[in-house]
């Protein structure tokens, strides 16, 4: 059966490790945790198993894991455990201990959350976040609402980092390889031992970093060991941009993309809403211009070969053949060139002149009219448009290939300096991924010249299987690995040095005009060090990394340092440069030589690799919540697959789940196929990030490593349109999708899309012919039933989702999991259809007209429609009527509540829910399934549900209660917008509104009265409290 969190069946393997903890007393900021005296709770809390009503309670789970590992530092010393008392009084009550603080930090009140501002740094971007801590332990990541740029936007991946912190498979201490096995050792000792070994030729392979301080530390290490530093990132999204910009403009920056300033956005093979750079920021910027009611509506056209999140949100999506993006870009340039600033540039003209619409049409599969119309639209939006290109699936054989073509377009259109600005850009980019240096390193390694190889958080063995990385690395005499997991690269190393999670360590980052201080929200859970501290220790420096951070900060912070630094800590960021327009850079036509743009149609099957929204590059793959987050488009969990077009599936009579064998010149990969609408014949797509062998119990063995298919051209990896031969094997695999059907979405009135044009003519466009319950005799009042409806007098909570803004990015889903202690069920149970998500995002494919549907039998360009569905809190809730024990009913503030402790689990409510949002705990998903320290990620304000009870969205009841109680204590009324549900809080598109419908001045009241608002299945007269707003598509003037 399935296990939660960990896929494997290993029991809680508790390793005892005694560690010393240094107090970082020199720093100004000290986490609450540091002030609490480190203390072993050692509570021999009676684990009281018999006759409990809820065996799994948050606190008890915490205790249980603590008992299993008493030596580990325990920080929840405060309120002890609160075991569940039996529902029946005659049962034996538990004995429970309270262990108070020795010295309580001032202002730290037990039971009240404390938020810390910090930032999450990835290879692509920096995301400002707030960390919610309770009694000194981080329990949730939230968006930073005060940040001027991000304004609370946060991605699913970032939200999931809370579980990275509590990943039981993390490197918890240092390891030394003895023979073929790793031996645990104290980090302190290993650091000292390793520092002595850094002699001879030392090479450092580091992951690209945004942190000035880490760069300093790295430089210090390089200086001390006379090492060469090679920065490298297999995805290299930023490096692609830099490569392109360097060639096109000779400028070494990653410009700021001002999506919110663009009226017209063209994305060519670019998934900026899903996986490119900082999708949460782009989503916020993009969605801020999706306001049909205010007449402010941008237009997004996406040209792509695979169906991505961005493509699914396009107002017009043009499906091209894989590998033809360069051709299309140059064809557009050809059409736009006359009359543009570059019209006089003969080199440009000569290059693009061969790309006539006819050529492009032949290569891309589009019609000439489509290409010409697109060019016309671009022309009409000169200076207000934005062309985006690049990303994993368009990474060509030459660095920056598509980027140069896109730069050309932007320069032609005069977008340079306007919607693409070098002001508040990413400037220090010289240590981004360097493919050439990587190639050199590989050579050095192969020639056996390298004595010591230090790998800082990179995973080349996994990411570069085609380059023979594992063999090359093994030739180094000493390999030191710094990282989070014992991953595929780490297992080759001789010394493993555990790197702390960003919530445990000091750090900083600079990006897009902001300087961020990364501050710890908790002291290290294990015997880990921040990467900076390790680098410094290896360099033999006596400095602390936190001091380096302070030094670095000095160059960004103006005024009195101590005051300003404290302020920077509380805010989490410092504004270095404000955004704005910049002078346009001059395009260098020589760059065009690097553009790969075939003039003839590519033959055979072409597979493009892409990053999935949930797993990304695979570094966070060991988190079951990421694995179980359904892909926004395919709704697949726990696996990667080959996305094939409907046309190919028809031609070859492939069925979902048939295993295909993809062969390149060097590699063979067997993967189940998934028939994905929105692809052209011959285009295939496979997600990377899967198929790791060593990262941990969860991710190891999930999916196949698609990096194997990548083709290396002198160290440059090609992910786009890799030619493959495809064979069907006789095997079949089950695909763990959470949504298997999408047909009938339109017919059932679920999919409601209107064009902006229609909407302007008729604000009720898209749902004019709505089926509604028969009204009362006066034609207006509620439908009359056997009874007179119940009247609510107090608050009445309603929620609205603006489907025009919603991109389906799934941040809300992860946020909901994190906030509400929702368990992950594992692949087996997802296959059974038992996923537990309280908030799911339904995805439907549709066409605007029936003719369009008939004209596209291979589903090359369907519309995609996302609809987040949570409990609708129906006023006439069908679920409430049928519960025999009254475990679910309506509260005085109009919520459909679910009392888990009353539920006996008849599942009648789940049956009778027309929205199917109720989830049943078929197994015990928490108790005994948590591996230390996963229990700390649970929200103590939410009951952990045991086996046999139903659960569902509560509109974040704990958040409502917290604010209401606070209002009561303060003797005031609740303010509108004071309560934010978890999904609302983290929605990067700001698509969710929540509030009191009885308050006529509230945002939600205004939203629900808008003509765009509709309710799903309104004809059932269940009167949902969740309303939706029709998705408006801006079809443009064409």
């Amino acid at each position: 059966m399935s296990a939660i969190i960990d896929k494997g069946k290993e029991s809680m393997a508790q390793k005892k490790s005694q560690r010393n903890h240094k107090k970082n007393s020199a720093s100004i900021w000290r986490s609450a945790e540091e002030i609490i005296s480190p203390e072993s709770i050692a509570a021999d809390t009676q684990l009281w198993n018999d006759g409990r009503e809820f065996p799994a309670s948050v606190q008890e789970l915490i205790d249980r894991a603590q008992n299993a590992n008493l030596n580990r530092k325990s920080f929840l010393t405060l309120m002890g455990a609160s075991l569940s008392l039996a529902g029946v009084s005659c049962m034996k009550a538990p004995v429970e201990k309270i262990v108070p603080y020795v010295e309580r930090p001032i202002g730290h009140i037990p039971g009240k959350p404390v938020y810390y501002a910090t930032a999450r740094v990835t290879a692509d971007a920096v995301t400002p976040v707030l960390v919610k801590t309770r009694e000194g332990k981080p329990i949730k990541i939230e968006g930073h609402e005060d940040h001027p740029l991000y304004r609370g936007a946060v991605s699913a991946d970032t939200l999931a980092t809370i579980w990275d912190l509590y990943d039981p498979d993390r490197l918890k201490t240092a390891f030394i390889k003895e023979g073929n096995t790793f031996k645990e050792a104290k980090t302190e000792e290993v650091l000292a031992a390793v520092a002595k070994k850094l002699t001879g030729t030392v090479r450092i392979l580091a992951k690209a970093s945004f942190s000035p301080s880490e760069r300093k530390a790295l430089a210090e290490l390089a200086k001390a060991t006379k090492a060469k530093v090679v920065t490298y990132d297999a995805i290299g999204a930023l490096a692609e941009i830099v490569a392109g910009d360097e060639a096109s403009y000779g400028s070494n920056v990653v410009p700021a993309y001002r999506i919110d300033k663009a009226d017209f956005i063209l994305a060519i093979e670019n998934d900026f809403l899903g996986t490119w750079l900082s999708p949460e920021l782009f989503t916020r910027q993009f969605a801020s211009r999706r306001n049909p009611d205010k007449g402010d509506m941008n237009r997004l056209v996406v040209v792509e070969s695979n169906m991505t999140l961005t493509g699914s949100n396009a107002d017009s999506r043009l499906t091209i053949h894989a590998g033809s993006h360069g051709t299309l870009a140059l064809a557009l340039a050809n059409l736009l060139l006359p009359g543009s600033p570059l019209a006089g540039d003969a080199a440009v003209r000569n290059t693009v002149s061969g790309y006539t619409p006819a050529v492009a049409a032949a290569v891309t599969g589009l019609t000439e009219e489509q290409i010409v119309a697109l060019a016309e639209e671009l022309k009409a939006n000169k200076g207000k448009s934005l062309v985006l290109g690049g990303g994993t699936s368009s990474k060509d054989a030459r660095p920056g290939s598509l980027q140069i073509a896109v730069n050309l377009l932007n320069s032609i259109l005069g977008n340079e300096g306007q919607t693409i600005s070098t002001k508040a850009a990413l400037k220090k980019t010289n240590d981004l991924s360097d493919a050439k240096a990587m190639g050199d390193l590989l050579e050095e390694l192969n020639s056996g010249k390298v004595d010591v190889l230090i790998i800082d958080r990179a995973n080349p063995v996994y990411e570069l299987p085609g380059l023979g990385m594992a063999d090359a690395i093994r030739k180094a005499k000493t390999i030191i690995y710094l990282g989070y997991h014992k991953n595929d690269t780490a297992v080759e190393a001789h010394y493993l040095l555990p790197v702390s999670h960003y919530l445990e360590s000091w750090g900083d980052a600079e990006s897009y005009g902001y300087y961020y201080v990364v501050q710890p929200a908790i002291r290290e859970l294990f015997d880990t060090r921040s990467a900076g501290d390790i680098l410094l220790a290896l360099a033999g420096s006596k400095q602390k990394f936190s001091d380096i951070v302070r030094q670095s900060a000095k160059s960004y912070i103006k005024g009195d340092f101590e005051t300003a630094f404290t302020r920077a800590l509380s805010m989490g960021y410092v504004v270095v440069e404000t955004e704005g327009s910049s002078p346009a850079r001059k395009f260098r036509s020589a760059a065009l030589a690097n553009v790969i743009a075939p003039k003839e149609a590519l033959s055979g099957y072409r597979v493009s690799l892409y990053r999935s929204v949930a797993i990304g590059d695979g570094s966070g793959a060991n988190i079951s919540f990421r694995q179980e987050l359904p892909d926004p488009i395919s709704k697949m969990t726990w696996d990667n697959y080959v996305a094939v077009s409907v046309a190919d599936a028809k031609a070859n009579t492939w069925k979902m789940g048939d295993v295909l064998r993809l062969k390149t010149a060097k590699a063979t990969l067997e993967l189940p196929l998934f028939i994905q609408p929105g692809l052209r014949k011959g285009s295939l797509a496979v997600a990377i990030g899967y198929g790791q062998t060593n990262i941990g119990q969860v991710a190891a063995g999930v999916g196949r490593n698609a990096y194997e298919l990548a083709i290396a051209h002198n160290g440059v990896l090609q992910y786009s349109a890799i030619p493959v031969t495809v064979e069907q094997t006789s095997n079949r695999e089950k695909l763990a999708t959470t949504q298997k059907h999408y047909e009938l979405g339109v017919k059932r009135g679920l999919v409601r899309i209107a064009t902006l044009e229609d909407y302007r003519k008729n604000p009720r466009a898209g749902h004019e012919h709505e089926e509604v319950p028969h009204p009362g005799p006066d034609g207006k009042s509620k439908a009359k039933g056997l009874y007179t409806p119940h009247k609510y007098t107090g608050n009445r909570w309603n929620l609205n989702v603006d489907l025009t803004k919603c991109t389906g990015c799934s941040a809300c889903v992860i946020s909901c999991y994190s906030e509400n202690n929702i368990p992950v069920v594992g692949k087996d149970d997802v296959l059974m259809g038992r996923e537990m998500s309280w908030l799911r995002i339904d995805r439907y494919y549709s066409y605007q007209t029936e003719e369009a549907e008939k004209a596209d039998p291979d589903m090359v360009s369907p519309d995609v429609f996302f609809q987040p569905v949570m409990c609708q809190h129906c006023e006439n809730a069908p679920c409430e009527n049928v519960c025999p024990v009254g475990a679910t009913g309506h509260s005085d503030d109009g919520l459909n509540y679910m009392s888990y402790n009353r539920c006996i689990g008849t599942r009648y409510c789940a049956n009778n829910c027309p929205y199917k949002v109720r989830r049943f705990n078929y197994f015990e998903y928490w108790d005994g399934k948590l591996r230390d320290p996963q229990q700390f990620s649970l929200n103590p304000d939410v009951t952990v549900r045991s086996r046999g009870v139903i659960e569902k969205c509560s509109f974040c009841q704990q958040r409502i209660s917290e604010k209401r109680q606070a209002a009561k204590v303060e003797g005031r009324e609740l303010k509108d917008g004071e309560i934010k549900t978890a999904c609302q809080q983290s929605c990067p598109a700001d698509a969710i509104t929540f509030g009191n419908i009885h308050d006529s001045g509230s945002q939600i009241s205004a939203k629900t009265q808008e003509p765009r608002t509709y309710k799903i299945l309104a004809q059932l007269n269940v009167e949902p409290a969740v309303s939706y707003q029709v998705r408006i598509k801006n079809q443009g003037k064409a």
């Binding site: 809820f54 429970e96 037990p110 039971g111 919520l895 209660s961 109680q965």
Partner: protein, 191 residues
């Protein structure tokens, strides 16, 4: 004979069972575990008339009342003669001081223990039960009894659901629930 006995016994036993259902005292009432340090509320809150909030600092602003951290004890006991009997440090205080020196906390045994699926926020209750000008302990006593008279703290109230609900029912005010009313909806305590 047997029949006669059964004839009378059945209704009597049935009535006794029902009576037991209604009136049986919940087991926890009177629960007074031995604590690691024999701290006397009677001495502190009673004799010395300390306010509850001096130690239970979170009670008026948080969900949790909070058990005092040791530094609060040490506000008075670190220096001075408090806790000295006939010039000698009392053995209980000695324990405390030793723990404080070791930076360790005593492991108190929880007396008032609610199940995990019940959310009882102290602050709004204290706010609602406090009377103008009266000491906090009058509000606390509603649920905790007269702690200021207890040498060893014991549970005085059943703290079972029926007990909670009775009060909520009495003060139930659905129409004013927005601001200060009390509700008997399940989601008030269970979520």
């Amino acid at each position: 004979m047997l029949f006669k006995l059964a004839k009378f016994a059945t209704p009597v036993l049935g009535a006794a069972f029902l009576a037991w259902l209604f009136f049986a005292p919940p087991q926890r009432v009177g629960y007074a575990p031995e604590q690691p340090i024999a701290y006397s509320h009677q001495l502190h809150a009673g004799k010395h008339n300390m306010d509850c909030q001096y130690c239970h600092t979170g009670v008026a602003e948080s969900k949790k009342a909070g058990v005092p951290s040791l530094n609060i004890c040490m506000n008075c006991h670190l220096y001075g003669t408090m806790g000295y009997v006939d010039g000698k440090l009392s053995s209980e205080l000695d324990k405390l001081k030793k723990l404080f020196a070791e930076k360790k906390s005593p492991e108190w045994i929880r007396v008032h223990n609610l199940p995990d699926h019940v959310k009882f926020p102290h602050a709004p209750h204290v706010k609602a039960l406090s009377k103008e000008g009266a000491a906090t302990k009058e509000a606390c006593a509603v649920c905790h009894g007269n702690v200021d008279q207890m040498v060893v703290v014991s549970q005085q109230m059943p703290l079972n659901m029926g007990w909670c609900v009775n009060c909520h029912r009495d003060y139930r005010d659905q129409n004013n629930y927005r601001t200060h009313g009390v509700s008997t909806s399940c989601n008030v305590c269970h979520y």
